[in-house]
């Protein structure tokens, strides 16, 4: 699953961006996305995409895999771009480039920042029930993914996806039903243990909100450079 892949990159990375503070990375991403949104020309967008590609290589992320992940969500933009500006012209390309760069921005962010740190940061702005549920979602994904993988493998070995479309859908649904039942049991056990450990409506993270370090400077320089480029190009 993509979330596990990117989280692994974030946890094991050692680059300046990995070591920068979460808040700075968040601000950097927000600036780039805003530049992408307000851009009205192909030149600016190509500049941003090139800058992002150089950054991906510089911080030693797998560029091919990240580009693949960035192309997947572009289906909607393609439909939108073709139908709004038929058949396919300058404006269509503009829409596609905007989506591509915006997706790259968040993929760079999650490749350099573990999800737990992002959730801790968001915890300062979101209601605690949502932040806590985000932590539980994150933990549960890693617990359930293993179960789901095992079930899928067994299902394939036992021929669960042979025997036609209806049979495959039926078996796949039973498998999901099983995962849901196990998930609900898991949530009950998790809630019990949370209560036993004194949970009173907030999972605390010791991380402070306003933390900056030397590594942040590079991301701010890049952000300012992008703003200048968007203005000048």
């Amino acid at each position: 699953m993509e979330i596990a892949f990117f989280d692994n990159l974030a946890v094991n990375g050692k680059s300046f961006l990995h070591n920068a503070s979460t808040l700075s990375k968040f601000i950097f991403t927000a600036i780039i996305i805003n530049c992408v949104i307000i851009s009205r020309g192909i030149n600016e967008l190509i500049f941003i995409a090139v800058l992002q590609s150089v950054l991906i290589i510089a911080i030693r992320l797998p560029i091919k895999r990240i580009f693949m992940a960035a192309f997947n969500p572009m289906f909607f933009s393609l439909v939108f771009a073709v139908t709004k500006y038929p058949p396919f012209g300058y404006d269509s390309l503009l829409v596609l480039l905007k989506t591509f760069s915006a997706v790259l921005s968040v993929l760079i962010l999650i490749s350099a920042t573990p999800f737990t740190e992002l959730f801790s940061l968001l915890g300062h702005f979101l209601p605690s029930i949502i932040t806590d549920a985000l932590f539980v979602t994150y933990r549960s994904i890693f617990i359930l993914i293993q179960q789901l993988d095992n079930h899928l493998t067994i299902m394939k070995i036992r021929g669960g996806f042979n025997g036609g479309f209806i049979n495959s859908i039926k078996n796949f649904s039973s498998l999901l039903g099983l995962v849901i039942i196990r998930s609900i049991d898991l949530s009950e056990r998790m809630y019990h243990i949370l209560k036993i450990r004194g949970y009173k409506g907030k999972i605390y993270s010791g991380k402070s909100f306003l933390v900056f370090n030397k590594q942040d400077i590079v991301s701010y320089i890049l952000a300012v450079g992008t703003i200048m480029a968007v203005i000048l190009l």
């Binding site: 699953m1 993509e2 979330i3 991403t29 996305i33 992408v36 949104i37 992940a69 960035a70 997947n72 969500p73 289906f75 909607f76 933009s77 439909v79 939108f80 139908t83 709004k84 038929p86 829409v95 905007k98 989506t99 760069s101 915006a102 997706v103 968040v106 993929l107 999800f115 209601p127 029930i129 949502i130 549920a133 985000l134 932590f135 539980v136 979602t137 933990r139 549960s140 994904i141 359930l144 789901l148 899928l152 495959s168 859908i169 039926k170 796949f172 649904s173 039973s174 999901l176 039903g177 099983l178 995962v179 849901i180 039942i181 998930s183 609900i184 949530s187 998790m190 809630y191 949370l194």
Partner: protein, 223 residues
């Protein structure tokens, strides 16, 4: 895919802000209702169902080029308040993965959250007359069609740029501009409708089969 997650760069900033404000308001109402009903104990279930939705989306149905997301089913299991919160959580995480823009989380949550709400609503109405399995399937299909229509509406409204109405270029009338706009929306709707319908039908079938399985193995979940 049975869902269309709107990416960044397609919608004007003013609509994005409005989307966030509306989503914030709905979240505020949902959390208040949860607190009034003392339902905070379902927090872990909310988190785990969010994980299930994300996992369901990640499973490629090798035999067809779609993915499902079980939002209507989550609405049935979690109820409308937690269902909406689950939609927010899933959209937020998906936005970090590039599926749906980070600036569009507000609007996407309203769209996907409506699916949880309508899934829950129609299921509870239909189960009085039909079997739970059939009710779940039909309610999932209706909910997906409604959320699909909402996507078309959002794209239609948010792309009606103010300049188009107020700053008319020489030789172009307001009706010309609106006509051009409605043509592009019509083309957009025509392209995405089969996707929504086919994806919706598959998700409805799977939802109904999952409910059937749960009824056999652990019926108390659906009480």
């Amino acid at each position: 895919m049975s869902h269309l997650h709107i990416p960044d760069g397609v919608i004007d900033p003013i609509w994005l802000i409005l989307g966030y404000i509306l989503t914030g308001l709905v979240i505020f109402i949902c959390i208040n209702k949860i607190r009034k009903r003392n339902e905070e104990g379902k927090m872990a279930l909310l988190g785990v169902m969010g994980a299930v939705m994300l996992l369901a989306m990640s499973v490629p149905l090798g035999f067809i080029p779609f993915h499902i997301n079980l939002t209507a089913l989550s609405g049935i299991i979690l109820g409308p308040n937690y269902g909406f919160l689950a939609a927010f959580i899933v959209n937020l995480i998906l936005a970090f993965l590039g599926h749906g823009g980070i600036t569009v989380v507000g609007l996407n949550t309203l769209i996907v959250g409506s699916e949880a709400l309508f899934g829950w609503l129609f299921y509870n109405i239909l189960k009085r007359f039909l079997t739970r399995r059939t009710s779940a399937g039909i309610s999932a299909l209706i909910a997906i069609i409604i959320s699909g229509l909402l996507v078309i509406c959002v794209i239609s409204i948010t792309n009606l740029e103010p300049e188009m109405v107020f700053h008319l270029h020489e030789g172009h009338s307001l009706s010309d501009n609106l006509h051009q706009h409605s043509n592009s929306i019509y083309a957009f709707a025509l392209t995405v409708s089969p996707i929504i319908l086919l994806g919706g039908a598959i998700e409805a079938l799977i939802t109904s089969l999952i409910v059937s399985y749960i009824r056999k193995v652990k019926p108390d979940i659906l009480k």
